[in-house]
């Protein structure tokens, strides 16, 4: 391609992009849509569902979940439900693989959707059992298809999931057009 035509073509491409809508957004004011399967950091935990089996701690590749339990005497279908004295998630070393959530047999632990937990000190980056109890019950639908099928959206305010609803039931899925509208054109 002699004559500099290649350069001319390239210049036209950049010129066309000049009038295009920018793909980036200004972060704190605008945010890109996050999918509800997003594996975020503020873990959602249902004390009512947890039996203290420590599967999550065992399955964690990093070994960052620390669990101390005490007998509570409360019995479930499978056996005794233990009371959680310590449930520390050391989020500084967490890589958000979600294996703990995948491992939980009682759907008690869920991923969250947050990503803004920056702290000045590493020691602040621990989620304690009290924090887990107090946190908003807005679980991510990662490995929790039952939440997704009922049309639940963690980014809508006031749509908390109670512990009874966190279990595995089926519901109606959205239509193709709705999905196209929301996840393709809306993004």
């Amino acid at each position: 391609m002699p004559y500099g035509l290649g350069i001319a073509k390239g210049m036209m491409v950049t010129l066309r992009n000049l009038v295009r809508k920018p793909v980036t957004v200004q972060y704190p004011e605008q945010r890109v849509a996050q999918h509800h399967r997003f594996r975020g950091e503020d873990f959602v935990w249902y004390e009512e569902r947890c039996t203290g089996c420590a599967s999550c701690a065992k399955y964690c590749p990093q070994g960052i979940i620390k669990i101390v339990t005490a007998p509570s005497g409360e019995m479930t279908q499978e056996g005794e439900k233990y009371k959680l004295e310590v449930f520390d998630i050391e989020i500084a070393r967490c890589m958000f693989c979600g294996l703990c959530v995948e491992a939980c047999p009682y759907d008690a632990l869920h991923m969250g959707s947050g990503f803004e937990r920056a702290r000045p000190r590493q020691s602040d980056l621990v989620i304690t059992v009290d924090e887990l109890k107090a946190s908003a019950k807005k679980p991510s639908t990662w490995f929790r298809p039952q939440l997704q099928d009922r049309g639940y959206d963690p980014f809508q305010p006031g749509d908390d999931v109670s512990w009874q609803d966190a279990g595995r039931e089926k519901s109606v899925a959205p239509t193709y057009e709705e999905m196209l509208q929301r996840w393709v054109q809306g993004r």
Binding site: Q34, R37, F38, P145
Partner: protein, 368 residues
Amino acid sequence: MVNLPSEQITINLGPQHPSTHGVFRLRVTLDGEVITDVEPIFGYLHRGTEKLAEERTYTQIVTLTDRLDYTSSMINNQAYVLAVEKLAGVTVPPRGQYLRVLTAELQRIASHLMGVGFFLQDLGASGTPLMYCFRERERILDLFEMLCGARVTVSYMRPGGVFQEPPPEFWPAVRHLLDTTPDAIAELERLISENEIVLARTKGVGVLTKEKAIDSAVSGPNLRASGVAWDLRKADPYDVYADMDFAVPVGSNGDSYDRFLVRVMEVHQSIRIAEQCYRDMPGGPVRSELPFFFRPPPGDAYAHVEASKGELGFYLVSDGGIAPYRCKIRSPSFINLTVLAEMLIGWKVADLMVIFGSLDVNMGEVDR
């Protein structure tokens, strides 16, 4: 001829340098601007993945493979789970296999876009092609976020399939991506692939001959750019690649431009494969049920895939326990990097970045 002896200077390119793609150091001896000696020094990103794998269960290791070549984690996942399945004798349901191929090809597009983008950035294009590449890559990462909640460290595949059925909105999004990406790639090609400056900078620069490439066990697009039609998806098909209809781009000169162009053309082929996956996606389960902790019988297995950088292989030895006795990773970037020093000598500093960028190595994979 009057030969003026000039003082040779040694400079350290990296480990902190704008275009060393991670933490990589090249000790370069220069005569003027001409490179007379190169000593690559790596290991700055060593995390001991192979050793860590000996203390993780087979499922947990999946999360480690994400972090090898962090621009193509899906393909790393695939290589690893294939090795585990071989070791444990597990079969994968067809839907799981199709999903794997689909995501692996999307990841290949993303990885090639990133490689091409940074290659052009190394050429000195002030961010524009890189930004266009990233724009397209982001759309693929959006899909991964839908699939598995993470954009880069996906951990999507599991021994026995993929971790879960994709959400319903995944399919219209894939359709849209497959419809629009070819235009975007065509625009990128218009922007750059016939640009006279790019041609002058890359044509004939850093030629890797066919013989040298084979002798040094170079693989992937770098090998194909040197004129060897070798693609593991064809030569040793895994998952459902045997059913896929696609062509392999093969270069003729083995220079930086061919390496660049092979990647761009592979993107088109990947779109072709992804189309077929989308069209032929069977129903059924995505994962054959395996316990979280499982004990493969003692023995060893090697599985390799055509990763975006070349042949990625996992060699696993089991002693019957819940964790592998030994995990060896054949990482393509590391082996592709071995030819670098030889290719650089005699070229100028500016060419160093072009040649290095055209090899498209990823330091996470080199140092492991």
